[in-house]
């Protein structure tokens, strides 16, 4: 850390931040003095980190996440912690215990989730870049809904040390920004090996985006343009793919048949992992106090009922149920086989194409309160979750509007080809200036 200082006192009209740091000291380097926001499920030493949950209200981490150490080392000014769906469980940021974030493009609509605060902070002009996390689309969905760029890196490329876990086998920390260039610069800073994350690979990212996509083969999966996808959204994305063809790419129709059950597999796996991960929130070591006079079971249950939101409790219960004796084979074991099939489908398609393109989300941003039923909310994740099941990289880049709201073009790549998906997004972005 150097002795440079910057002030950050934005007018937060969108409830994008849960915590802001008014005066920030920063060093110099690749991100010297650039204001970067960090999602509130990433540990920041000395700065309250709540995961947008009452159960972590007042929790001040005693250590920095690996990515936060890297940000500080690159001179970034960490200006605040952004709002999110509680523990990352949601698609709208309405599941925050501290009120929803509003979409800067239309404040009557949601910004997407779960990294909705990070996306709104960027789209609302408060910061240039931010960190999000993506378990089933939580970076790409808000990027699409708010008209910014967001990358879900290959699983293992960015350390999860210090990320408060929701579903370990699916989630990745990733960069969000106004432009592909900004996302690429942030990725340069956060990617790389960390021994404290046992799933970390030694794959640093040193790439500079290149807009040449001559000869690139793009797979167009029929499932990404089928029923359930708003025709206006599909038309905007088709037009964007056409632009990529004009820039030198060729398109090839393809199919990912396992999409039929990918969403169900995703929700079984993430809720099972959540039921285990969230067992640690007991009101003993951090968070609101458990009543030490009561029995363990009674005190533990009381703290959790009072401080977890409805969706978090629902997912913990679903996971507990799916892992319980007699149901394990029907749900968890089947979901893991389904996950293997998704991975195989992608591998088969990637033998013939370099990237796969489709819409990021099947619709534009919902109106606040529009999705009140949990299952109908889950169904909107259908186009983003396959990527997390397969562990591959994917980016969302703005590609036009439908109903006056931003639409995201999703580019998916082979494992470790984050560079290529960034290049394709860059080519599209530059080709549309």
């Amino acid at each position: 850390m150097g002795d440079n200082e910057c002030c950050f006192e934005p007018e937060d009209r969108y409830n994008a931040f849960l915590t802001t740091c008014k005066k920030v000291t920063h060093g110099s380097g690749k991100l010297g003095g650039i204001a970067v926001a960090v999602k509130d499920n990433i540990s920041t030493q000395g700065i309250e980190t709540t995961c947008a949950s009452k159960i972590l209200k007042g929790y001040i981490p005693p250590y920095d996440a690996h990515v936060v150490q890297l940000l500080k080392g690159s001179g970034a000014a960490i200006v605040g912690k952004t709002n999110m769906d509680e523990f990352g469980m949601g698609t709208t940021t309405e599941n925050s215990a501290f009120g929803p974030t509003l979409n800067p493009c239309d404040t009557g609509r949601v910004p997407g989730g779960s990294s909705g605060g990070s996306a709104a902070a960027i789209a609302g002009g408060m910061v240039r870049m931010a960190l999000g996390t993506d378990t089933g689309g939580s970076i790409r969905c808000p990027a699409a809904f708010c008209g910014i760029v967001g990358l879900k890196p290959t699983y293992g490329r960015v350390s999860r040390y210090g990320l408060i876990a929701y579903a370990n086998s699916l989630e990745q920390i990733g960069p969000m920004g106004r432009t592909v260039d900004d996302v690429s610069v942030l990725m340069q800073v956060i990617a790389g090996y960390d021994r404290r994350d046992s799933t970390s690979y030694d794959r640093p990212y040193t790439h500079t985006p290149c807009a040449d996509i001559q000869g690139l083969r793009i797979g167009i999966p029929q499932e990404y343009f089928g029923s359930g996808v708003n025709p206006e959204v599909a038309a905007v994305v088709n037009k964007a793919v056409g632009r990529l063809e004009e820039l030198g790419a060729t398109t090839i129709p393809c199919s990912i048949p396992s999409m039929e059950y990918a969403l169900a597999a995703y929700y079984v796996i993430c809720t099972c992992e959540a039921s285990s991960n969230l067992a640690r929130f007991d009101g003993v070591r951090y968070g609101p106090a458990a009543d030490a006079k009561k029995s363990w079971h009674e005190a533990y249950q009381e703290v959790r009922r009072a401080n977890f939101g409805t969706e978090v409790r629902r997912r913990i219960m679903l996971g507990t149920f799916a892992l319980s004796s007699g149901y394990y084979g029907k749900y968890y074991a089947k979901a893991q086989v389904a996950r293997g099939n998704v991975k195989k489908d992608f591998a088969r398609v990637f033998a013939d194409v370099d990237v796969i393109a489709g819409p990021t989300m099947p619709t534009v941003a919902f109106r606040l309160g529009e999705k009140s039923d949990p299952l109908s909310m889950y169904l909107t994740d259908i186009l983003t979750v396959p990527v997390n099941l397969a562990g591959i990289p994917a980016i969302s880049v703005p590609c036009g509007t439908a109903e006056g709201m931003p639409v995201g073009l999703q580019i998916m790549g082979r494992p470790w080809e984050d560079e290529r998906v960034i290049d394709v997004a860059y080519a599209y972005e530059q080709g549309c200036i």
Binding site: P62, E260, R285, Y286, G287, A290, S295, F321, Q336
Partner: protein, 89 residues
Amino acid sequence: MATEQEVYHIAELADVGINTGELGTFTHQFNAILEYFDVLDRVSGDTAVTRDLCNVMREDETEPSLPREEVLRNVAAQEDGFIKAPRVM
């Protein structure tokens, strides 16, 4: 289909509690989701996902950890440098 009693039992097992007022809604939504999960019955194959990393372990040697006062800073109740918890037995 899960009954209200089963949903109540799961809430107890998971230690998240459930209010009588929300039991009906929870059960209804729970069943809609479980019904959707039935699509997994159509999954064929028997290989689950594997990754090419295995046994990522370090030597079992003591390494520096957080100082006690740092760890206790977020604790709601403590006594003599220990964390105070509800009784288990």
